[in-house]
Amino acid sequence: MDKSLNKVLKLGIFIIVGTILFIAGVYFIGEKQNMFGNTYNIYAVFNNINGLKPGNNVRYSGINVGTVKEIVMVSDTVIVVKIAIVKEITKHIKTDAKCAITSDGLVGSMIINILPGHKSEMNIAKGDTIRSFTRIRTEEMLQTLSVTNENAALLTGELLAITKEISAGKGIVGSMLKDTLLTKDLREIVHHLKITSKASSSTINQLNKILTSIDKKDNLVGMLRDTSVANKVKNIITNVEKSSRELDKVIDHLDLTIHNANQTITNVKDGKGAINYLSNDPSLVTKIDQTIGHLDSTVIQINNAGEKLNENLEALKNTWLLRKYFKNQEKEKEGN
């Protein structure tokens, strides 16, 4: 190959490689800004764009899906942002999606963050306007912080005053810190509380045991928890109720009877009958004693007379006139 031709070839390669690198650079930069892809333009309206610029990224669920194309200020509170979104992504963005201008990292450039919508079934279309919301800006946060700081300063001042009073031993807290007697009392209270809590603990344990045993059926409460036993008890109570009603009736009768008896007794007391005489006359007892004495002597005499009569009868049995009669009587007795 001719030497000069070789040089020209090398030069051609050099120029072409350089040009390709430049075109590749232009293409890749353009591609990142969605200049060559198939994009849809959609719109978002803000009242403050916080330094957003054309070319800033647009993210949907954390993925770069487009770029800011144009920013138009319609009025003092309405700023329309034209967004170029990759066509393939539009089928995933619903019409109820919302967008906000946020910062890409702590000190990064501003981006538009589209938050997915869920309720709508419709996908966004070319030229649609999606809803937007404004996040709290740094100045607003600082304003709030300023108010918080003022409140904190007031609180600190008051706390300082309280601390001084406490240090001086004023009030309950101050007394607690400064008064040694109170401290001693408090320690004693705490000591007693400990003892009480120990006792309470053991009591609770016992109560727990009792409550546990109640669940078992080997005791009275456990039996009562049994439904069959409960039914029986119910029947018993019903019967007791019936019995009590009967008893009421009996008591009523008894009351009547007692009333009648009282009347009778009153009558007996007031009257002059045999009973009144028997119960109230003391001479009657003496008379009766005398009569019983007479009766005793009479009975003795009768017994003596009976013995004498028996002797007479024995003598009659042995007499020939009445011997036959007594024999016949003995025979009849034996026959029965």
Binding site: S4, K7, V8, K10, L11, F14, I15, V17, G18, T19, L21, F22, G25, V26, F28, I29, G30, E31, K32, Q33, G55, N64
Partner: protein, 259 residues
């Protein structure tokens, strides 16, 4: 005496500026006139482009490596190591790549042109060409200025690419960053406002290097000793003009792109 020297220095500065402007004007007059010295133009392109590629490539590669190595610890300290590709790419594409390449070319090409044309001038070759009917300005100056104007931008693009690759190697070794991720970050950070103005200004850099080199060589004086001075002055003045153009380009870019 001092006033005279100062006045003399200022006068010579303005005179030289005026002569340089005339020289440029003459270039624009000659560039569209026939005959076109195409072969000489291609030869100059080869000499200035291909032969400077190794020097420019190695410089760019080292700049990419060093810049990333130097920036990386501070970026780690700031917790912004993920921004390193963005930072390096913007720095290289906007400023470091063009200015370093232009300065290297000012040194290599500017001095080469100054020395070559100066030697031709002092050996009266230029006069001989004029006498023989060949337009020396068209043959020597126009071809060289055109070659530098067109080759410097390509050298800058290649230098940028190699510098970014060098930066990627450091990120890959130190931070396990993949090629795709690194260049994705690079192109995400770059915009046309970074690439286009910086590429346009490299044409001016190339034009300035060629113009100053040719001017200095074309009007070389004081014999062979003047050739060395001419080469030296070509490098110094070309570098100065490059910086002035860079400053002007940044101002103009700021007007159009609000960087």
């Amino acid at each position: 005496m001092y006033l005279y020297v100062t006045t003399s220095g200022l006068n010579s500065f303005f005179i030289e500026t005026g002569e340089l402007a005339n020289f440029a004007l003459r270039f624009f007059k000659e560039v569209f006139k026939r005959p076109f010295e195409f072969k000489e133009f291609l030869r100059q392109c080869y000499n200035m482009g291909n032969r400077s590629l190794l020097l420019v490539g190695v410089t760019g590669f080292i700049i990419g490596l060093v810049f990333t190595l130097q920036s990386r610890p501070k970026m780690i300290e700031l917790g912004a190591v993920a921004w390193l590709p963005s930072m390096v790419s913007i720095s290289i594409i906007r400023e470091i790549g063009p200015i370093i390449t232009a300065l290297i070319c000012a040194g290599r090409i500017g001095s080469g042109i100054g020395a070559e044309l100066g030697a031709m001038r002092v050996t009266e070759q230029i006069d001989a060409m004029d006498v023989s009917g060949t337009n020396p300005f068209k043959f020597l100056v126009v071809t060289r200025i055109l070659a530098t104007t067109l080759m410097i931008p390509i050298l800058v693009i290649m230098s940028d690419a190699v510098a970014l690759f060098g930066s990627f190697l450091i990120e890959n070794f130190k931070g396990d960053v993949s090629f795709t991720l690194y260049f994705d970050e690079v192109f995400r950070a770059l915009t046309y406002s970074d690439l286009i103005p910086s590429t346009i200004k490299t044409f001016f850099f190339g034009f300035a290097i060629g113009l100053v080199g040719c001017y200095k060589g074309y009007y070389c004086k004081h014999g062979t000793a003047g050739v060395g001075l001419t080469a030296n002055a070509a490098v110094v003045e070309a570098s100065m003009v490059v910086f002035i153009i860079d400053f002007a380009s940044v101002l103009i870019t700021d007007i159009f792109y609000s960087i």
